[in-house]
C-alpha cells in the first residue's frame, strides 16, 4: 500500500514523536488548537461527515454517538477512553499508544471539547503497566505545556484527564462494565437504557470511545471529512490497524484501508502462513468473531463484507491457524477464556460458558460422547443473544463456527478418543479448571470453616 494511507501509523518508524516536542514538530496538537476555535456542533458535524465508525468492535458511528449527549442535563459530561484492550488476538491499541501517546491525548481532548467535558478518564487495562506509564508521562507533558489543565492553550476551556488502571477483567471493555469499574464497583454490565450518552459515568452523560477511534479524530479535524472518506470503503471509511498473529511469517500490526482483502494482508504484509503450511482457519476480529477458513481469503476486511461471509470485523484482530492445529483445542481455549472472564451476572453466560468449556475439554482430551455434539449445538443457540451482554455471544462464535466448519474433526476426536490432527490422546485433561478461577474464590478460606469451592470427582 502507499505510504499516504498510513495515517495512524505514519510515525511508527520515528521514536521522536513519543515525547511532546517530537509530536509537536510532526504537527501534533494542531487539531486540538483548531478544535478550540470550532463550536461543539461543528466538531460533531465533521466527525459525522467523515463516517468514522468505532474501532472497538461494534462499529457504531462516532459522530452520532457524540451527538446523543444532551446539552441541557444540568450535569457534568464525561469522556471515557476505553483502553482496556483485552480481546484475544488484539493489540493495536497498545502499539498505537506506545508509539504516539500524545495522539490519544489529542483525540481525547477534541472529543471532550465536542461534548463540553471538563474531566476525562482513560481506562487502561492493568496488564498494560508500561503503556500506562507512557501515557502518564505524556499527560504530564501535556499539562506542563498547557494542552491540558485550566485554560488550555491560553483559552478559557478547562480539561483534566485522569488515568485509571483496570485490574484484570476482560468484561471491563464492555462500556457499561467499564463505567461500573471506574466508579469503584465490580465490573458488571448495567442495563441499557439509560444509555451512557444520557446516564453514564456518575449518572451523567458520557461518551466512551476506543483508542484507535479517538486517534483518527485529529486527522479528521486536520484534513477534513472528505479526505477521510477517500480512504477505505463507502460504509467504512478510513484505515484500520489490523493485528495479525498466530501462524504467520510476519505477525504484527498493519494499517490498511478498510476493505483490504484478507489475502492481501496475509500474503503481502504478514508473509503468508508460517513455514508455508496450509491455512486452516482464521478469526477476522478477535476471539469473539466466528472462524473463517481458507475459502474466505478474498473477503474484504470491512464491517459489511466480513458479516456477509458469516463473521464479524470485531477488533480487526486476525488469528491464523494452520493445518497442524486442532480446532477443538482452539475452541476449548477460547471458550475457556469466556468462562474465565464471564462476570457471573447472568445465567446463560455464567453457566453456559462453564458447561461448554468443560464439554469441549472432555472432547479434546478424548473423553467425548456422541451426545456431546447436539449439546454443544444447543449451547450455541441457548446462549446466543440471550445473555445480558455480548460477552457470551463471543463464546458462541468459536463453538458454532468450529461445529460448522470442522464437524469431522469433532467426530474424529469422539470416535478415536484422541486428536486426529496432533495425535494427542487422553492425559492432558483441560477445561474449566483455569487456575485463576480458584484464586478468585480463595478468600473463602478466610471464612470460618469454609474452603474454596472444589471440583467434585473427575470428569466422566
Amino acid at each position: 500500500m502507499s505510504e499516504s494511507h498510513r495515517v495512524l501509523t505514519a510515525h511508527w518508524h520515528d521514536p521522536s514523536v513519543i515525547p511532546l516536542a517530537g509530536y509537536e514538530a510532526a504537527g501534533g496538537y494542531r487539531a486540538l488548537r483548531a478544535s478550540l476555535g470550532m463550536s461543539a456542533d461543528e466538531l460533531i458535524q465533521v466527525v459525522k461527515d467523515s463516517g468514522l465508525r468505532g474501532r472497538g468492535g461494534a462499529g457504531f458511528p462516532t459522530g452520532m454517538k457524540w451527538s446523543f449527549v444532551p446539552r441541557d442535563s444540568g450535569k457534568p459530561t464525561f469522556v471515557t477512553v476505553n483502553f482496556d484492550e483485552s480481546e484475544p488476538g488484539t493489540c493495536n491499541n497498545r502499539e498505537l499508544v506506545e508509539r504516539e501517546p500524545h495522539a490519544l491525548i489529542e483525540g481525547s481532548a477534541i472529543a471532550a471539547r465536542a461534548i463540553d467535558c471538563h474531566l476525562a478518564f482513560i481506562y487502561v487495562r492493568g496488564e498494560y503497566l508500561w503503556q500506562g506509564q507512557v501515557l502518564q508521562r505524556a499527560l504530564d507533558e501535556a499539562y506542563a505545556a498547557g494542552y491540558l489543565g485550566r485554560g488550555i492553550m491560553g483559552g478559557d476551556y478547562d480539561l483534566d484527564i485522569v488515568l485509571h488502571r483496570g485490574a484484570g477483567a476482560y468484561i471491563c471493555g464492555e462500556e457499561t462494565a467499564l463505567l461500573s469499574s471506574l466508579e469503584g464497583f465490580r465490573g458488571q454490565p448495567r442495563l441499557r437504557p439509560p444509555f451512557p450518552a444520557v446516564e453514564g459515568l456518575y449518572e451523567s452523560p458520557t461518551v466512551i470511545n476506543n483508542v484507535e477511534t479517538l486517534m483518527n479524530v485529529p486527522h479528521i479535524v486536520n484534513n477534513g471529512a472528505d479526505w477521510f472518506k477517500s480512504i477505505g470503503t463507502e460504509k467504512a471509511p478510513g484505515t484500520k490497524v489490523f493485528t495479525i498473529s498466530g501462524k504467520v511469517e510476519r505477525p504484527g500490526n498493519y494499517e490498511l484501508p478498510m476493505g483490504t482483502p484478507m489475502r492481501t494482508l496475509l500474503e503481502e504484509h504478514a508473509g503468508g502462513v508460517l513455514g508455508g503450511r496450509a491455512l486452516k482457519a482464521w478469526t477476522p476480529g478477535g476471539s469473539s468473531t466466528p472462524f473463517l477458513t481458507a475459502d474466505h481469503l478474498d473477503v474484504g476486511l470491512d464491517f459489511e463484507s466480513v458479516m456477509e461471509a458469516g463473521s464479524l470485523l470485531g477488533t480487526g484482530a486476525i488469528m491464523v491457524l494452520d493445518e497442524t492445529d486442532c480446532m477443538v483445542e482452539a475452541a476449548r481455549r477460547l471458550v475457556e477464556f469466556y468462562a474465565h472472564e464471564s462476570c457471573g451476572k447472568c445465567t446463560p453466560c455464567r453457566e453456559g460458558t462453564w458447561w461448554a468449556s468443560r464439554v469441549l475439554g472432555r472432547i479434546e482430551s478424548g473423553h467425548g460422547h456422541e451426545e456431546d455434539l447436539p449439546v454443544m449445538a444447543d449451547m450455541g443457540e441457548h446462549i446466543l443473544f440471550r445473555a445480558f451482554c455480548a460477552l457470551a455471544d463471543g463464546a458462541v462464535s468459536p463453538i458454532q463456527s468450529t461445529l460448522q466448519h470442522f464437524m469431522d474433526e469433532y467426530q474424529a476426536h469422539i470416535r478415536e478418543g484422541r486428536c486426529p490432527v496432533t495425535g494427542r490422546g487422553p492425559g492432558r485433561e483441560r477445561g474449566g479448571d483455569h487456575p485463576a478461577e480458584d484464586d478468585r474464590a480463595a478468600l473463602d478460606v478466610t471464612f470460618a470453616g469454609a474452603g474454596p469451592f472444589e471440583i467434585q470427582g473427575a470428569p466422566s
Binding site: L191, S342, G344, R386
Partner: protein, 803 residues
C-alpha cells in the same frame, strides 16, 4: 393516588391491556393473569435482568426480550411462554442452565414445597440432566448470623438478597464475591449479617439458599396452616402471614401491603413469636387469699366491685391492647370509676401535649405513602430503625426517590447515609427548631417550608421533641405526625386512655358527643399521668390501682418509685397474660387473651386501624380485655352498653373518627422541656429494637443476632474531660442509682449528652432514672479503670427488673 399517568395499549398472549407508560412487561402480563417465570425480578427491587428466565417474544423483533427489564410501548404485541414456542424453549433452556450446578437436595431443603425453582423444574424442566460434568460444590451451609444461613450450592445468583441490602435496607453486609461460575454471595470475613432486616433476604430468596435458623428443619409447607395477622411489636403495623403447626407458631413472614409495610418485616417481627406461649402465661383468674389462688371471673369481679366501691381508683396500662380494649377501658374509667387517673404512657411527657391531641383527633393525617412521596422530611426525636423499623425503610425509600431528609436527634441514627443529622442535646429541640440557631437546621426548615404540604415532619418520643417539631410543622405548612412507638399507643390515644383527653382527642370539657354516647360525665378535672398516679400511690392517695397489660417495674423509668407505689397502694389488680415481676404485689389477677386469640383493631403510627382476627382459640379461660371491662362494669353496678364487638365498634367509630376541628393547637403553650439543671451530662434512654422486653421472650436466635450488652455512649469531648476511653469502663451515677458500664466513645452523639439503652441484659436502666427518659448523670471512670480518681465509691453493676 392522583398522579397523572399516560397509558399505553399492548397485547399480551392475545389479550389487550392498557398500562401506565413505563410499566415492565412482566407486570403488565400479571394484569392479564399471565405469570411469566422469574427469579431475579422483584416488584420492589430495581430491574436487573440477571436470571434471564422471563424471556418473551415481541412481534417484529429478532431477539427475545427479558420481560423484567423491558417496558411496554404502544402497540406492542407480546407472546409469553404460553403462546410462543421460542419463548417457551428459551425458558426451558435457561432452566437447564440453572439446574446444572444445583444440588437438587429438595428433600432436605427448607424451601422444598414452596420453591419457585422446584415448581418450575417440575412444570417444564427436562426430566433428565444432560450435564455429565462434576458439579460445583461448596461447604454448606455457612451461618451468616445466628438468624440466617447460606447454602451457596442452591443459590441461583439472582442477587435479590444483595440488592435488598443495597437498595432497601442499606445494610450491605452481603455482596456478590468473585465472578463467573465462581461468583457467590458472601459476607466479609469475621463479620455477621447484623442487619435488623436480614430475614427479608430469606423470604425473597427464590430458592433454599438463604434459610432461617428458627425455621430450619422445622416444618414442611403442607404441615402448616397459614393465617393473616398484624405484627404486635411496634406501631409500624406490618402485615404478616403466620404459619402454625398444631396451634404453635413456627414462622412469621411478611404479607404484602404496599400501603403499610410493602413486602418487608423486621427481624424482631419475624423472629419474636414465642411470647404468647411463654411458660409463665396464666390463663386462670387468681385472687390473693393465703397466696394467689385460682378463682372464677365472677369471684374476682365481685371482689373488684367491693374494693372499688367509693374508692379512689387509678388505672395504668401500656401500649399493646387493641383499639376496642382501650375504648372500653376509657369508658369504664370515666363512667364507672369516675376517674381521670388513667394513662397508657410510660411517663407522660408535657412536651408532647399538643402532639398527642393532634394524634388523637387526626388519624391518618400523614401516612406511609406521604412519607414515601415527600420532597423534604424532618425527623425529630425518633430513632426510626430501632423504634419503628419499617418506617425507617420507608424513609430510606423516600431518600431513594429524591427526598431530602434531616434528623434531629441526640445520637446518630441508621439513616445517617441518606439523611443529614443535627445532633441535639436532649431538650434542645425547641430552641433549634425555632430557627436561627443552627445553619443546617435552618436549611432543613427552608426546604420543609418550600415543600409545604409535600413536606413531612415526623416526631418521636424523645422528651420535649414532639411539640417542638409540631410547631415547626405548623410554621412551615408541612404535614405532621407524632410517631408513638408501641404497637397500639395510637389506639390508646384515640380512645382517650389519657388523664386529660376523651376519645377523639376531646378535652375533658368538650363532652357533648361523648355524653351522648356515655351519659353524663361528672369528673372534668384532668387526672394524673403515669408518674402522677405512681406518686399518688406512694402518698397513699390511691386506694385501688389497676395494672392492665403493663409491668411498671420494667416499663417506667423510675424503678424505685414504682416499688414504693406498689408497697403503699392497698389494692393492686393485674390484668395481663402473666404476672411476671408483679406476682408478689398482685391482689387479684384477671387473665387476658393474647393477640392471636382476639378479634379487633390495632392502629399504626399513622392512626390506620387494621383488623385482626382470632387465629386460635383462647388460652384457658382468658377473655379479651374489653370483655373483662364490660363484665367489670356490670359487677360494679355500671354498664358499658355493649355485649358484642359490633356494638362496641358502632359506638367507638362515632367517637374516634378524625375530627376536622380537633387537635389543631400549635403547642405554643407547651413549656420548653429541659433536663433538670445540675452537674453532669444529660443522660437519656430509650429501648433498642432487640432488648429484654417481654415480647422477645424465647427469641434466642434474634437476641444472639442483634442483641447487645448494655453500654453508655458519650461524646469524645465529654469522655476526655472525665478521663474515659472508648471500650473502657465507666460508672454512671444519677440521683436514682448507679451502674458500671462499658463506655462507647463516639462523635455521633451530642456533646453534653450520654445514652444508655433502656433494657439490655444485665441493666434495667429504669434504676437510673427518676420518672423521665432523661436525667442528669455524673460519669466517671469505673473502679477497675486505671484513670479512675482516687476515693470514688465502688458501685456494682445494677441488675433490675425481670430478665
Amino acid at each position: 393516588m392522583s398522579r397523572p399517568e399516560q397509558l399505553v395499549n399492548l397485547t399480551i398472549d392475545g389479550k389487550q391491556v392498557a398500562v401506565p407508560a413505563g410499566t415492565l412487561l412482566i407486570r403488565a402480563a400479571e394484569q392479564v393473569g399471565v405469570e411469566i417465570p422469574r427469579f431475579c425480578d422483584h416488584p420492589l427491587l430495581e430491574p436487573v435482568g440477571a436470571c434471564r428466565q422471563c424471556y418473551v417474544e415481541i412481534e417484529g423483533q429478532r431477539k427475545l426480550f427479558t420481560s423484567c427489564t423491558t417496558t411496554a410501548t404502544e402497540g406492542m404485541v407480546v407472546k409469553t411462554q404460553n403462546t410462543s414456542g421460542v419463548a417457551h424453549e428459551a425458558q426451558v433452556a435457561n432452566l437447564e442452565f440453572l439446574l446444572l450446578n444445583h444440588p437438587l437436595d429438595c428433600p432436605i431443603c427448607d424451601r422444598g414445597g414452596e420453591c419457585p425453582l422446584q415448581d418450575q423444574a417440575l412444570a417444564f424442566g427436562p426430566g433428565e440432566s444432560r450435564y455429565r460434568e462434576a458439579k460445583r460444590v461448596y461447604p454448606k451451609p455457612i451461618p451468616l448470623s445466628p438468624l440466617v444461613n447460606l447454602d451457596r450450592e442452591r443459590c441461583v445468583l439472582c442477587a435479590r438478597c444483595t440488592r435488598f441490602c443495597d437498595e432497601i435496607s442499606g445494610d450491605r453486609f452481603i455482596e456478590m464475591f468473585a465472578r463467573g461460575a465462581a461468583q457467590q454471595v458472601r459476607i466479609a470475613a469475621g463479620e455477621d449479617f447484623r442487619s435488623p432486616f436480614s430475614g427479608n433476604t430469606v423470604q425473597i430468596c427464590p430458592v433454599g439458599a438463604l434459610t432461617s435458623t428458627p425455621y430450619r428443619f422445622v416444618a414442611r409447607p403442607f404441615d402448616l396452616s397459614t393465617v393473616d395477622t398484624v405484627c404486635p411489636h411496634c406501631s409500624a403495623g406490618c402485615n404478616m402471614k403466620l404459619d402454625m403447626r398444631g396451634g404453635e407458631v413456627v414462622r412469621q413472614l411478611a404479607r404484602d401491603n404496599y400501603d403499610v409495610n410493602d413486602a418487608w418485616l423486621c427481624d424482631k417481627g419475624r423472629s419474636a413469636f414465642r411470647f404468647p406461649d411463654a411458660p409463665d402465661r396464666i390463663a386462670t383468674p387468681l385472687i390473693r387469699e393465703r397466696g394467689l389462688e385460682p378463682a372464677s371471673f365472677g369471684e374476682v369481679l365481685t371482689r373488684v366491685a367491693e374494693w372499688t366501691d367509693g374508692a379512689r381508683v387509678a388505672i395504668l396500662t401500656g401500649g399493646r391492647l387493641m383499639d376496642e380494649d382501650y375504648y372500653a377501658l376509657s369508658k369504664l374509667a370515666r363512667t364507672v370509676f369516675r376517674t381521670n387517673d388513667l394513662d397508657h404512657r410510660r411517663t407522660g411527657d408535657p412536651g408532647a401535649a399538643a402532639s398527642e391531641r393532634h394524634a388523637a383527633a387526626k388519624p391518618m393525617a400523614l401516612t406511609y405513602d406521604d412519607v414515601e412521596t415527600a420532597s423534604a422530611i424532618l425527623v425529630v426525636g425518633l430513632d426510626a430503625e430501632q423504634e419503628v423499623p419499617i418506617l425507617h425503610l420507608r424513609l430510606r425509600k423516600a431518600a431513594r426517590r429524591g427526598a431530602r431528609i434531616w434528623v434531629v436527634h441526640p445520637r446518630r441514627t441508621r439513616l445517617h447515609d441518606v439523611a443529614t443529622h443535627v445532633l441535639c442535646a436532649p431538650g434542645d429541640e425547641a430552641r433549634l427548631l425555632t430557627g436561627g440557631a443552627d445553619d443546617t437546621l435552618d436549611e432543613a426548615l427552608a426546604a420543609v417550608r418550600e415543600g409545604g404540604a409535600g413536606a413531612v415532619v415526623l416526631a418521636g418520643e424523645r422528651p420535649g421533641a414532639a411539640d417542638a417539631a409540631k410547631r415547626a410543622a405548623d410554621a412551615t405548612g408541612a404535614r405532621f405526625q407524632y410517631v408513638t412507638r408501641r404497637a397500639n399507643d395510637r389506639g390508646a390515644l384515640l380512645a382517650g386512655v389519657h388523664p386529660s383527653l376523651l376519645p377523639g382527642g376531646r378535652e375533658l370539657d368538650d363532652v357533648d358527643d361523648v355524653e351522648a354516647a356515655w351519659g353524663p360525665l361528672t369528673n372534668r378535672e384532668p387526672g394524673r399521668d403515669t408518674m402522677g398516679i405512681l406518686r399518688a400511690c406512694v402518698d397513699r392517695e390511691v386506694d385501688v390501682v389497676f395494672l392492665i397489660g403493663v409491668d411498671p417495674l420494667r416499663d417506667v423509668p423510675d424503678a424505685e418509685l414504682v416499688r414504693r407505689a406498689l408497697d403503699n397502694v392497698p389494692v393492686k389488680i393485674v390484668q395481663s397474660l402473666e404476672l411476671g415481676s408483679l406476682e408478689p404485689f398482685a391482689d387479684a389477677f384477671l387473665p387476658a387473651s393474647a393477640f392471636l386469640e382476639k378479634d379487633g383493631h390495632v392502629s399504626t403510627w399513622e392512626g390506620r386501624g387494621q383488623r385482626l382476627r382470632a387465629i386460635r382459640g383462647r388460652d384457658g379461660i382468658s377473655l379479651a380485655d374489653w370483655e373483662i371491662f364490660a363484665s367489670m362494669a356490670l359487677a360494679c353496678g355500671g354498664d358499658l352498653g355493649f355485649e358484642t364487638l359490633d356494638q362496641l365498634h358502632d359506638e367507638m367509630g362515632r367517637l374516634t373518627a378524625a375530627r376536622e376541628d380537633g387537635g389543631s393547637e400549635s403547642g405554643a403553650g407547651t413549656p420548653p422541656v429541659e433536663v433538670e439543671p445540675g452537674d453532669g451530662l444529660a443522660l437519656f434512654t430509650y429501648p433498642l429494637l432487640v432488648d429484654e422486653g417481654r415480647l422477645t421472650e424465647g427469641a434466642e436466635e434474634l437476641k444472639a443476632a442483634l442483641g447487645q450488652e448494655p453500654f453508655v455512649e458519650l461524646h469524645p469531648s465529654d469522655a476526655a474531660a472525665a478521663g474515659i476511653v472508648d471500650g473502657g469502663s465507666a460508672t454512671v451515677r444519677t440521683d436514682a442509682g448507679a451502674a458500671e458500664l462499658p463506655a462507647r466513645v463516639t462523635e455521633h452523639i451530642a456533646s453534653g449528652a450520654a445514652f444508655v439503652p433502656f433494657n439490655q441484659p444485665g441493666l434495667a436502666a429504669n434504676t437510673l432514672f427518676s420518672g423521665r427518659m432523661v436525667t442528669r448523670a455524673r460519669i466517671t471512670p469505673a473502679e477497675s479503670d486505671p484513670a479512675r480518681p482516687e476515693g470514688a465509691e465502688v458501685v456494682g453493676a445494677v441488675t433490675g427488673g425481670e430478665a
